[in-house]
Symmetry: C2
Subunit: 116 residues, 2 copies
């Protein structure tokens, strides 16, 4: 007789606003990369994504959140770039919190699985 | 000033066992269709899926759950077909319960979203 099977529950969440994509794994990764590189184009490159696509994602998030999540920085040694606002950092934090708590919740649910 | 934005959290769950797919939206739909049509080939057709693919999904679920989820029925007016076992019906029930409770949980989380 085989011993207990190990089940794992996987989970993907995404947030929309009035039928428009707002936040999902990809956009949160993009925000994280912009935060790291201080540049949309470098963030796009690190994700093997076109600049245009990354820019459109940022533009969409900025419009939905009203207070922008990513703003341009002008001048400085790097000649300007982009950075996350408090709103952008909050989005990453909230998304990750929801993801972690949902995963914890699902972990507790796994005990109800009994297919052995 | 724009009024409060309506956010919606979407969620997709799937269950694996030792790195093999076990249950997800597609497989649950397949089990439901087999239950409805009492036939793997009719269920596959209704999902615009090849019989081979449907059969492989059933075979994979049957092997992981140990007690089969779908069994063949022999004879009768329809000349035999397939039907769900108690185990198969339980899989649909558990998956839907987890899905519904996770959605409820996420609904409560939506209140933490404040991007207006």
């Amino acid at each position: 007789m085989k011993s207990t099977t190990l089940f794992k529950i996987h989970n993907r969440i995404w947030i929309s606003s009035e039928n428009r994509s707002f936040l999902g794994e990809g956009r949160i990764e993009l925000l994280n990369e912009i935060n790291k590189h201080r540049s949309i184009s470098k963030a796009a490159k690190s994700m093997k994504m076109s600049y245009r696509k990354a820019w459109n994602m940022v533009d969409s998030m900025n419009k939905i959140s009203k207070k922008p999540m990513v703003i341009r920085t002008i001048g400085g040694t790097g000649g300007g770039g982009s950075k996350l606002t408090t709103e952008g950092l909050k989005a990453i934090k909230l998304f990750n919190e929801i993801k972690i708590s949902t995963n914890k919740y699902l972990e507790s649910k796994i005990k109800t699985l009994d297919f052995s």
